[in-house]
């Protein structure tokens, strides 16, 4: 096992960078907690939310949305053939929330009061609702992932209890996710005057929820692809193909909602002026939504796992672009403020991403995250016929990319 961890091919290049970023994170945190947010960020009274909210919070939580979608597929809809990708997805989701919460601890002025919403209520506040949901759902994710740890240490009694509780946890998780994924959009409902009309919409909560679903599914594919490369794990290509077919539908729903909304609010003329923000919007919807939707709809295209990952990668980038457009671009456009994140803000975001990846890799090394044993065996023998046609291609891909 030790040999595997120290395998230079997967760790040698990224590990030092990851460790360096994580250390930088610590140094910046030290400055930030002694000399204030102003010492490390470019935030101002007129631009109080920056990269840590726009990227770390909005994207971190959105990218983790695969967790509730796949959990519900397996445990609520009983489509148990998706089981092999469930654990890595739950792990990604849990780390995504951890990432967002750590960023929040950096961003909050007085993070030691982060627990205050538990006893100091204001049900009229979207932030209050988001706070509660994130708190509860992170706990749910932790519990959903706990069987993996329990299994590792052979604790069979708690394992049995957790298995019994799983359906309830999963249903709770779906409800909590629906609430706060949409509420991250509701946060912006109160500032119609401060967001560019391309991005302010009365249906922001619906758009945030549906786009979280698109990116949640996309992340399942992208992360499977990276895990395969990092660990040489077999890829459940047929599952990823089915996930990607679902993606096509969800992307189509999102596009329909978004275009209808833009049309209803008479933004078409503004768009046709083809000024800066028209291009932003076009890139966001064209490259981040429409293009991957069309590509993934083609059966021939879906055959190659590498192409699947590339198309879903576009969805992820489009999603990140959208969240930054809502929280930064649209705010700048409507208020005339300018905000460019400080170097430290970028470093913190990168450091947290690195930390997340290190934790993911560590968990994959030491815990039974990927299907091994009986589940995997059933999966391999059951699924082999179905994927036999594609397997050589997948192997070929792996060979070319690792060279």
């Amino acid at each position: 096992m030790i040999k595997k961890i120290l395998n230079p091919r997967s760790w040698g290049f990224w590990m030092p960078i990851g460790v360096a970023l994580t250390l930088t994170l610590g140094v910046i945190a030290l400055i930030r907690f002694t000399r204030g947010l102003g010492a490390v960020t470019n935030l101002t009274d007129t631009f109080p939310w920056g990269l840590w909210i726009g990227f770390d919070m909005l994207c971190g939580i959105g990218l983790a949305a695969g967790g509730f979608a796949i959990a519900a597929t397996v445990h609520v809809l009983h489509l148990e053939d998706f089981k092999p990708i469930l654990r890595p997805t739950i792990l990604t989701a849990f780390l995504g929330y951890l990432f967002a919460i750590l960023a929040l601890l950096m961003d909050l002025g007085k993070p030691w009061n982060i627990w205050h919403p538990i006893i100091m209520w204001n049900p009229h506040s979207v932030m209050f609702e988001v706070g509660w949901c994130v708190m509860l759902y992170t706990t749910v994710l932790f519990l959903e992932f706990s069987p993996v740890v329990l299994e590792r240490f052979g604790l069979s009694t708690p394992l049995k209890i957790m298995r019994k509780l799983t359906p309830i946890l999963v249903i709770l998780g779906v409800i909590l996710s629906t609430l706060h994924q949409s509420s991250l959009g509701s946060l912006f409902l109160i500032i119609p005057g401060k967001l560019h009309p391309f991005w302010y919409s009365p249906i922001l909560p619906v758009l945030f929820f549906v786009s979280a679903l698109t990116v949640g599914l996309a992340m399942v594919v992208v992360e499977s692809w990276f895990s395969r490369r990092a660990f040489g794990k077999p890829l459940e290509t047929h599952l990823l193909q089915r996930v990607s077919r679902a993606s096509v539908v969800v992307l189509a729903i999102f596009l329909a909602l978004r275009l209808r909304d833009l049309a209803l609010r008479d933004t078409i003329n503004q768009f046709l002026a083809f000024e800066r923000y028209s291009w932003y919007l076009l890139a966001e919807l064209g490259l981040g939504v429409a293009l991957p939707m069309v590509l993934l709809a083609s059966e021939r295209f879906r055959r190659s796992p590498r192409r699947l990952a590339a198309a879903q990668g576009l969805v992820v980038l489009g999603f990140v672009f959208n969240r930054l457009n809502v929280s930064v671009t649209a705010f700048e456009a409507a208020t005339g403020q300018t905000y460019v994140p400080a170097v430290a803000e970028f470093l913190v975001s990168m450091g947290l991403v690195a930390l997340g990846m290190i934790l993911f890799m560590a968990a994959c090394q030491w815990l039974p995250v990927f299907p091994e044993g009986p589940v995997a065996e059933v999966e391999k023998s059951g699924g082999f016929a179905a994927i036999a046609g594609h397997t050589p291609a997948a192997v070929g891909d792996a060979a070319t990319t690792s060279r």
Partner: protein, 249 residues
């Protein structure tokens, strides 16, 4: 106890700065000529040219956006009128700063334990009222019961119709504010930020938030139902000696 409000009369303001001097003194801020809201500035004058000065301060909305968005109720609309801030509750999310339609709250960006800063109508002075009003010699800022101030404002508009744009800003704007404005032109022309919608802002988020109980209720029933239905299908398939896998395909 009175329900306190402030009337700002832009037509009467000469720009002497007595209001902000009194404010700085009362709030223990360093003396400085203020030009924008910041952690040491709760009020300042916007010079609009031709001896027109528009005084800015917290509007003390009747249905304050900041109060509605604060997750920990650190901002409070008191029965006496002022919107006040409880730093010990605040966790520093700065949603109030994002949400305020008038751009009022500011932050202590260089503090290790930062507070949101804004005018509290000198609420801590135990009913003595805001320090800025008595400092004004020209009755450009006066304080008192809201209804009385509205009566005074109407009187001024009627007495000198040529000096005033015939509208009291704050009667209905942002759902009504306890800081009212009258002046020679509309407040939009004078550069006072205009709330983006008619009526109280908190309605915007409440439209979404009010669905939360229904999502929880019907979500649980719907998902529980799906769970039960699909599980049954599997059991039935097994009982009939077929594999659930085959059944689904």
């Amino acid at each position: 106890m009175i329900r306190r409000a402030i009337l700002v009369d832009v037509s009467k303001c000469v720009g002497c700065g007595a209001c902000w001097q009194a404010c700085q003194q009362a709030n223990g801020h360093p003396e400085h000529e203020p030009t924008k809201f910041d952690q040491d500035t709760f009020t300042f004058l916007m010079d609009r040219g031709n001896d027109v000065y528009v005084r800015r301060l917290c509007m003390h909305c009747q249905t304050p956006t900041c109060v509605s968005v604060c997750p920990v109720a650190a901002l409070e609309k008191t029965a006496e009128g002022p919107v006040i801030y409880h730093p010990s509750r605040c966790m520093g999310c700065r949603y109030c700063m994002m949400a305020c339609p008038f751009g009022v709250p500011t932050y202590e960006w260089h503090s290790a334990a930062p507070r949101v800063r804004k005018c509290e109508m000198c609420a801590y002075r135990d009913g003595k009222g805001p320090a800025c009003a008595p400092a004004c010699e020209f009755e450009a800022t006066i304080t008192g019961e809201r209804d009385e101030l509205i009566a005074i404002a109407k009187q001024r508009l009627a007495d000198e119709p040529d000096s005033y744009y015939q509208h009291i800003f704050g009667l209905t704007e942002a759902g009504g504010t306890d800081v009212l404005y009258i002046g020679p032109k509309s407040m939009a022309e004078l550069g006072l930020p205009q709330p983006p919608i008619e009526g109280p802002m908190p309605a915007l988020t409440w439209r979404a938030l009010k669905h939360v109980p229904d999502i929880v209720l019907f979500g649980s029933v719907f998902l529980g139902g799906l769970f039960w239905l699909t599980k049954r299908k599997e059991a039935v398939a097994q009982a009939e000696g077929r594999s659930a896998e085959v059944d689904r395909d």
